[in-house]
Symmetry: C2
Subunit: 244 residues, 2 copies
């Protein structure tokens, strides 16, 4: 019996998210189906976490056990043969038996892509959020740093979040400008449901001048006197990497 770790890339546009859902096709479902078609038996995969409907991934990680002694390239190419063009195993590795895609994860890195332009962009529409107003980058950078450290992110999750604790550690929030594009890279120990999107939504509201920088601190302290965080749309978000 060997434990296999898969690193998976997907275009999340047409999926209901990673996790199996009653209302549509999920990425997990397609990966498990591909493994079943390859191996002739049902396989349950365990992922580093979930991604919402429409969110993309360059480096989602999942694991499963198998007693088939396939070479690693066969795991990668074999599974890919049964996956749609929108999902691909980018890497297959054999890992220790105590490796767990979720519990062994040390850090996750997400990238959110914003396109600062008055006019919509057909080529970026599936992978970015269009912002028509000018953004105050100085305020956004100051606000972004307020997220760094260990905080109670209770104000940055949706009602469906079932996490036991709402404390999370953020290692860095970097804003990278490339022409019209603004990338916000968020690296943390773990994330609550919708947490990255609500962090981004809050930063954009601050950039638009609709909120003061201090609102990040207020939201992290559970202040009730200010409005809830805006949730940035799913298509701008991409899970870049899970570190173990």
């Amino acid at each position: 019996m060997a434990r296999i770790k898969l690193t998976i890339e997907y275009d999340g546009t047409d999926f209901v998210g990673w996790q199996v859902q009653p209302n549509g096709v999920s990425i997990q479902q397609r990966v498990e189906l591909a493994l079943e078609q390859l191996l002739g038996e049902k396989v349950r995969v365990y992922s580093s976490g979930r991604t919402d409907a429409g969110v993309h991934a360059l480096g989602m990680v999942c694991h499963f056990d198998s007693d088939r002694g396939l070479p690693l390239s066969a795991w990668r190419e074999g599974v890919n043969r049964f996956l749609p063009v929108t999902i691909a195993v980018r890497k297959a590795e054999i890992v220790d038996d105590d490796f767990h895609a979720r519990f062994s994860a040390k850090r996750k890195r997400y990238r959110y892509s914003l396109m600062r332009t008055e006019v919509r962009s057909p080529l970026q529409r599936r992978t970015s959020w269009q912002i028509r107003q000018p953004l105050d980058m100085v305020s956004m950078r100051r606000a972004a740093q307020q997220f760094v450290g260990e905080h109670d992110f209770a104000a940055f999750r949706t009602s469906g979040c079932a996490a036991e604790t709402t404390w999370r550690r953020i290692f860095s929030v970097d804003l990278i400008e490339e022409g019209e594009m603004l990338y916000i890279d968020v690296c943390g120990s773990g994330f609550l449901k919708n947490m990255v999107r609500m962090m981004i939504g809050t930063l954009v509201e601050i950039g638009r001048g609709k909120r003061p920088v201090i609102d990040v601190e207020k939201l992290l302290c559970g202040s009730m006197e200010i409005g809830p965080a805006l949730t940035a749309p799913a298509q701008g978000l991409c899970l870049m990497e899970v570190e173990y």
Copy 2:
């Protein structure tokens, strides 16, 4: 009567190309339909050229005449309201009456995107050509320079090409490496049908070691002793800019 110049971006994936075709929906058709819906009358647009089925554009240019004195933002936003998400007017300008999208064009710049990876990439699949083999960049760069200058590109066009002369001037061919991605930027006075894709196909064959560098010169001299140029797939190509 004013002459309006539109700069148009599109995701060419689901279109039969720029020009109206019997076998599917073209970008020109959707732009003319949007203008008709906006103005209540049929409008014929003249473009800087055509793009093949599946080819993208960041900066396709076309023009038309109208006696409606709309402000430029209304031309842009008005037309966009009637266009699908895959097409957008990025810029509208009023130009002199003697401006012609095709005949006034001085240079066109195309970018071809190659992804050098053994495994297919779901997020790049619509906008790049995946190359599994290692590429010999030194040979490719040497070969690319052979295209620069004025040459007879008869060997770099498909049979459907109706151009009067096959001589074209190439100003530059630049190879830009960014991690797994390799971008090839081709700037020229004009291009024959499939010319950029056949130039790229030839460079890739040279990079793979299937052709010597000298083959570019032989093809440009009309040599019959070597095989025809390979045509790179459409989805990697994007018309970046037309200069006037």
